[in-house]
Symmetry: D3
Subunit: 212 residues, 6 copies
């Protein structure tokens, strides 16, 4: 058979043709060591279409929280098939008045598409210029890698967006949580590096659970 013949010719000099084929993709196997380029790969023989599909976006995330918002990620940690492919996604849900607070993705750029409702989104450049816009259903916006950005539901109903990232593990660092939600972060240091008043810092630590 030509197929067999080809594969034979192609891999006849190696005992691990299956490994060679895995180079098409590298489905994450979290039980193996992780490296700078991502997770180690599952053996191709055990890869199935389920590794390349993700079903977490069907239903809204739980927005019963103080930001009235939810992030449902499909990063390599949740969606093994994207490991090594330079892409991932997430679903954003914002109830009326909901906010995704100021944050950055250390590892990648973000492209947001509004699929329901109305979102005010923006980012700040290194030159301290604010770029922001009100986005309706079907509008898209891109947030360059590593820059501070935010999303706010400015409509009357729920807002939903599908966001994608230029990395399988873009990371998510929410500025106020990093400052006021971390453990053992002395308020005196927070105040020095942010110019905030002591009362303000302590108030927000109370809300967000920070200590130190």
């Amino acid at each position: 058979m030509l197929t067999i013949l080809f594969l034979f010719l192609l891999f006849s000099s190696t005992p691990f043709s299956a490994n060679a084929a895995v180079q098409d993709f590298c489905v994450a196997d979290p039980t193996l060591p992780e490296g700078p380029a991502g997770y180690s790969c599952k053996k191709p023989a055990s890869v199935t279409v389920k590794d390349f599909t993700f079903s977490g976006f069907e239903k809204a995330g739980n927005t019963s929280n103080i930001i009235k918002a939810a992030v449902t990620p499909a990063f390599a940690a949740q969606f093994p098939g994207v490991n090594g492919l330079g892409i991932s996604a997430a679903r954003l849900d914002l109830a009326p008045g909901g906010v995704i607070p100021l944050h950055t993705h250390p590892g990648g750029s973000e492209l947001l598409v509004v699929t329901e409702g109305c979102i005010q989104a923006g980012f700040i450049s290194s030159a301290n210029t604010l770029y922001y816009e009100i986005l309706a259903e079907g509008d898209a916006m891109v947030f360059p890698q590593g820059l501070l950005h935010f999303q706010i539901n400015v409509g009357d109903g729920n807002a939903v967006a599908i966001v994608s990232f230029s990395s399988p593990s873009p990371g998510l660092q929410i500025t106020p949580i990093a400052l006021f939600g971390s453990k053992n972060f002395p308020s005196s240091i927070i105040e020095k590096i942010t110019f905030l008043d002591d009362a303000q810092v302590k108030k927000l630590k109370g809300v967000l659970g920070g200590t130190g």
Copy 2:
């Protein structure tokens, strides 16, 4: 003012601080030369939030064609703000029975999220294994870079998907159009490299406009 002071300190040794700031992003300027890494950058002073937003996804693409489908791209050529950021997107519309034929994206991986209807999608690996699945609204699937894949509307109504790519210019090569829609592509060569019959090749050239 501290802001001014900082920017002064930061760029005091250069006459072009604005250029330095552009390093946050590189909005495509198609009037300047293009390079292997993408389009040249617009001068930061002329960049506005409009460069980072895209409005082409609001309405369905025109599916009144033989594949009953439409692709609306937001690549660097249509969405200048994604230039250099390693990401882009597109909207897929498939009328009942619509099909995105067998194709590849030479420059990147694709992540698809179904936002309406029901799509059967799949890809073929280098090891000649087919990975395919029927995706409902909210389901996602990833297609590794450069591999043959397809999408078919298998529902009763319209199907819509938001797809993103790991490149600002992933490219799109539709196999049957490359074969049967190209100009001056001798049928004798097509037959040799595909094993297809002469009658089949000539029939499809007639449909898809190929010559030679």
Copy 3:
């Protein structure tokens, strides 16, 4: 001794100087986990010059098959020394009338040098333009990453080419084998995504071993 002194100074603060030195290269060890960047590295102490040499190109591949052609790869799976180095190679043999059918390399660009005979080679761009040429001994041609291309022996005798790739594991997806040689690929889907007739699809599945 200065040598010793240098190495001592260079690695005195680490217990694993040998590991540090491996950063020059990363010879594939297929018994260890594989990651998105390639195979894990052999311990430097067990690396020999044999890991950096490959002897599979001396003799012609077996062209006694229906395409009258053979591909002998020296990818990371066959040539461990290229792992992580962004390069690999292969030998192509085409008997008179031999053909390397329509194919892509998902992971890299290809540079072909004819070392014997006369080969007609070409690729198709995303803009559906065919670029093809007849190459004599000593002629070279480059095929950009991920684009459909082919090679045909148009001479009277055997043709041989040395090809190199911009990846240690470029992959090889032969379009007609992906379509007609895969297992469990329903003909109804193949027909929808290629516009081919049912009879044509079934005929080629019979030749190439596809099922479903």
Copy 4:
């Protein structure tokens, strides 16, 4: 002459051997278009050793400002020779009590070496863990790409550090200046995305020059 001979052989088939040689480096020419990979290159013939040297680190930066600190960058905009080489540097000066406020470098990681005095430095991970340490002269610390970090002079005298970056244009986004020093950034939005009180926001805008 062998030299001439070699260069002749090496570039005999091109009319622009000088351009070929520039591939060793790409000294920034800010008068030409900029692309995603950096500035365009000066013509090799006009490159001199001055392009590869930088003299801005001899003297302390001016710390007569409210943060009692100064940053003297040697990025591609100030040091053309680093363009395209994946590295750049800066000198930090902190008077007693001086602070480099909370900031990120969107484009690269930072490696700091204290050359004088005593600096308390730290960063916060995406998992909201604070990693911080007091660094004496000769101590080094690395800050992973895109993560929030800071430096504080905790000694009695001046503190100086040489920092390097994994990018020729790493960028610098100082969180409080981005928030309170930007033009036309509505306080109502700042409050929503940071949880800060209105009075706090307006107070810091007054100090840092923000409007809107």
Copy 5:
């Protein structure tokens, strides 16, 4: 026509669809600015198959020189089609006794395939280990990026090799020519940094044309 229809749909939102298509490749246009990623791209409309083919390997290079060897490069400067594709090639000719002296390629790894004769080739690792082998016709060897290596014709007749590189512009720095063939390189410095005797340095400068 479907082809037209597709291209229309694909690029209907941009006035420069031709530019978008160039993303498949970026044929070097040396008359435009060069950047860190390579040469600027020719306009797709003026690209022809000639840009993707190279004919300089048909005939042997001129080995009538003191090293009895010749290098015929097909780098981006000589072969515009490889620009941006991460690959290039060269032909090596070595007359009996011919030598490619000690050299490095700053920008890429090399893969050598002997097509005629018998070549002794080797490289030295950072750990000061020599890896060398005698290669017969059809043998291949890889030289990791940036490491010192060499090739010697140890057969009775001519030797020829096709070499490929993991960069379109790998560069070539021949150590003895860099030392003894450069202009204005003071012998006193050469002696300090190489431990060579003054007489040896001056003798070789005489042979290789160095001054200073």
Copy 6:
């Protein structure tokens, strides 16, 4: 608590949230396999601030050797926190008359900052042009990846420099040690590839410990 809530939302679909967070950094664990992109990562739970700090630069290296110089590296092998971050550093100490001999870094570019004394530094381009300069305290110079370069103390006292690299494992290949300090490197080959006299080669092998 919002923090907990966020982390829960963020990682609720995965059993290994800690692994996901490691994507901020990948601290080297030399006990696990190494890959082309670097060392495997320590489990985040066991990472401490000590992994991100390095204390080897406080004191001068030992310059009691024939080059009167010392290199103290902080590469990934010595400084685990830089693994995967594209940066590393080293301290250079040169006693009066001290020299860092001709060398290359196969894996990265170098940026040198003089912190004490006076250093003459230079590199040679592929076009055989020498770029060199005398650097005083506070002066910086960049050496493009893979090119031959050197540093000489031309002052009356000690000289010290902090150097950084665009790679966590740039490598260091000292040309005279590679030639005259390697084991089993036949003098006859060294002479052929360098044009050096037999006496000179044997003399330096005696000094630098080479054999063969």
